[in-house]
């Protein structure tokens, strides 16, 4: 039933019976499109509230779609977003909200936020869904008392820790970077991944940010492998330049039915196939190896592509959750762009760098170098690639894969042009 440690029972996992549902198209495939994108300025401190930034991004996304706030009748959110549906509704004045959805698992949720938005419009429960994420987490951001209202939530940890985090927070694993470090350490050990491989990710994504005037780190210029290796060790083996930044900013998108999208102003960006997957999470670390996450995660890519007209080699660019560089290599493997343990070798020779690399990753600069909007800024970049408006445009891009965190229960979808 379950795989165990790498190399032991991986075969058992791969040999389990196929489920019938795996082989048929999902009912919402190719039925919804992203019709509007909007975002605030990104910065390490905007001195604005989470709601203030959310409202701006939402208005901009609705305007980009050529709609009015009153046209929006669905909402899809991260459940970590403190600003609830009725608060947003009362602030920005949407239409009557007939469909809403929240998705758990933080950075693992953002593909699911789009998938549930697609469900709302594809099933006819609503016409236009607004989906968003707003965060005040920059070094100079507004600090509120809530865990997600500014500053680092792990610095606001309570005296008593409930839930599964009590099995590692009191022992010194206090923040995600330290959990990822334990995962990355074993990943290096098992597969010969090196810090050069980590730097391939950081360098390629920074180069994308340099071309993107809206990115926070791009203005600091490119980084070299030497600079990466010399950057401060945060949690061995993860260095400062392996880490995403913390920023203020908000991103919103409008999801509409494909029929409605055809009469709107933007080129079609169709949500083609989608997959969600439960797997061990970094905040559930004792289960990461017991349940052999490395084998389980392959399900995500398998489900995403077996329902698709595209194969991994057909994908023009990919938006991955780059909270930490090792997790990008894992994500490339999970989605089937290369085999298990081959993410490091895959990253060589500028493969991840656009527009000419084998598979450009996070052509806006991602969470590492554009801004950390919990992955949600990856969504408008996928749309820009399909529209042909990215600052690192892959010529003629027609299929872009988007995946949420490889370190969490997660999801992915493929966006395609008309």
């Amino acid at each position: 039933m379950r795989g165990r440690s790498p190399s032991s029972d991986a075969r058992v996992w791969n040999q389990r019976p196929e489920r019938a549902t795996d082989m048929r198209k999902s009912l919402i495939q190719d039925k919804a499109a992203i019709t509007g994108i909007g975002q605030t300025e990104f910065s390490q401190g905007l001195n604005r509230s989470v709601m203030d930034m959310a409202a701006e991004a939402i208005f901009k996304a609705i305007d980009d779609a050529g709609l009015k706030p009153e046209d929006i009748d669905g909402m899809s959110r991260y459940h970590m977003q403190d600003e609830w549906e009725n608060w947003i509704h009362a602030t920005v004045g949407l239409g009557e909200i007939t469909y809403y959805a929240d998705q758990p698992h933080g950075g693992g949720s953002y593909a699911a936020v789009i998938i549930s938005a697609a469900m709302g419009v594809a099933t006819g429960l609503c016409n236009h869904v607004i989906a968003f994420r707003s965060r005040a987490r920059g070094r100079k951001s507004v600090f509120g008392p809530g865990g997600d209202q500014g500053g680092r939530p792990w610095e606001k940890v309570e005296a008593r820790i409930p839930g599964t985090m009590q099995y590692f927070r009191p022992f010194g694993l206090m923040s995600p970077v330290q959990e990822m470090a334990a995962i990355a350490q074993r990943y290096m050990h098992d597969y010969g991944i090196t810090e050069e491989h980590f730097s391939n990710v950081a360098i390629a994504i920074r180069n994308h940010a340099v071309r993107n005037p809206l990115s926070v780190m791009g203005r600091r210029g490119p980084i070299s492998m030497h600079e990466h290796h010399e950057s401060r060790m945060i949690a061995d083996p993860i260095r400062l330049l392996d880490c995403c930044i913390e920023t203020d900013g908000a991103v919103a998108v409008v999801v509409s039915s494909v029929e409605a999208a055809r009469s709107l102003r933007q080129p079609l960006a169709v949500i083609h196939t989608m997959a969600q997957h439960t797997q061990p999470a970094h905040y559930h670390l004792t289960e990461w190896w017991r349940f052999n996450r490395d084998e389980m995660a392959l399900e995500l890519g398998r489900r995403l592509f077996e329902r698709s007209e595209f194969k991994p080699d057909d994908i023009d660019a990919v938006m991955l959750y780059d909270h930490f560089t090792p997790m990008v290599l894992l994500a490339l493997e999970d989605l089937g762009f290369c085999g298990r343990g081959e993410g490091g070798a895959f990253s060589e020779n500028g493969a991840l760098e656009g527009p000419g690399g084998r598979l450009p990753v996070n052509t806006h600069g991602g969470q590492l170098s554009e801004a950390f909007i919990h992955g949600f800024n990856n969504v408008p970049e996928a749309v820009r690639q399909i529209r042909g408006t990215s600052t690192t445009q892959v010529p003629g891009a027609r299929a872009v894969a988007v995946s949420a965190a490889s370190s969490d229960p997660t999801g992915a979808f493929i966006l395609r042009g008309d």
């Binding site: 039933m1 940890v157 005296a159 599964t164 694993l173 206090m174 330290q178 990461w288």
Partner: protein
Amino acid sequence: MTQTGKPETRFSPYAGLPLPQPSWDNYKFWEYCKAHELRLQKCSGCGELRYYPRPACPECHSMEFEWTKVSGKGTVYSYTIAHHPVLPFFADKVPLPVGVIKLDEGEVYMVGRLMDVDPGDVKIGMPVQVMFEDVAEDITLPQWRRADD
């Protein structure tokens, strides 16, 4: 270093360390730690050990189990050396080695500090032995030290 007293939280060297919040599902585990015993749930259906504590077996789905004393021996399966302390409590403890320990009994992994181990000496596969650190009136944390010392 093992603390064997019962420090008052306010004046304790552990003031500022976030502590576990015992629950209905796990209070037995923490009670056994308090008695300096490492006991884990052993499934009565399939015999699998599990950690962290939970009410059912994910392997065979049995809800019957007993708290079984384990050897407390294991190896470092993975680890990190935390250089950034995150909380003030850890500021004088970095660089801090924290291990993911695979118990000798099988597919059971526990996170704990590697005590009295030089950060440069930590290696995957290193044998370790559990030790108990009394950090509050009601909480003792299972930590790890080198087994070959």
